[in-house]
């Protein structure tokens, strides 16, 4: 959603709208995580009155979808791809191969035996 997006470009990797959107979602998630965890605590705590827990459930379900972790997807920071990402390197499989073969990734070498 555009209301969460930074007014100025604030990522320094490969830029396309999907990467920007994912970055926005990550920031929104980080901002609202304590609130979500507090609500989840209220919901799970059986010692609290049922009314409070129901209200917390309602409030949690009415939060914006961008505050949810499941909205976040790892994307390639050099090509913007959304599938086949090595999360350790944050790269798609082809970008990983290209960069590894050219020696840009420290400690990565082609297997040979």
């Amino acid at each position: 959603m555009a209301q969460f997006r930074a007014k100025k470009l604030d990522i320094g990797c490969f830029v396309n709208i999907r990467n920007i959107r994912d970055h926005t979602k990550r920031k929104v998630f980080a901002e609202h995580e304590p609130e979500r965890q507090a609500l989840r605590y209220l919901i799970r705590n059986t010692a609290l009155p049922q009314r409070v827990r129901a209200q917390a459930q309602l409030q949690l379900s009415q939060m914006h979808c961008y505050t949810r972790f499941t909205q976040i997807k790892n994307r390639c920071i050099m090509g913007g791809k959304g599938r086949g990402i090595f999360s350790d390197f944050r790269l798609g499989r082809y970008q990983f191969r290209i960069n590894a073969l050219s020696g840009n990734l420290p400690g990565v070498r082609k297997a040979s035996w």
Partner: protein, 106 residues
């Protein structure tokens, strides 16, 4: 030789105090699991590298120096030429009445 329940509870209480956990002998669901989870927001939000080293950053860091920006100069020159030919951008509308898109007569 069996140990009385109250003695075990006392031990549990002390254990909870020392290790800073919740004393919950009746095993109620108190949601402490969620309070113990660490926040992963900062790690998640720093996935994409930040944009650094732009000319605007340099200008902000060193206001006493004049940092040239070729792209900006080119753009300004282009805008000047366009304006002199009457092809510049339209004036910014300040009021709602001005900005009405369809208030023209047809």
């Amino acid at each position: 030789m069996s140990i009385p329940r109250s003695r075990v509870l006392d031990l549990m209480k002390v254990q909870c105090r020392i290790f800073n956990t919740t004393f919950n002998p009746t095993q109620q669901r108190l949601g402490t699991k969620i309070l113990n989870q660490r926040l992963r927001g900062p790690a998640v939000a720093s996935y994409y590298p930040p944009r650094v080293g732009t000319i605007q950053d340099l200008r902000k860091l060193y206001p006493q120096y004049d940092v040239p920006d070729d792209e900006e100069d080119e753009w300004l020159e282009h805008m000047q030429i366009a304006k002199s030919r009457g092809k510049g951008p339209p004036k910014k509308k300040r009021t709602a009445a001005e900005s009405k898109k369809f208030n023209k007569r047809k």
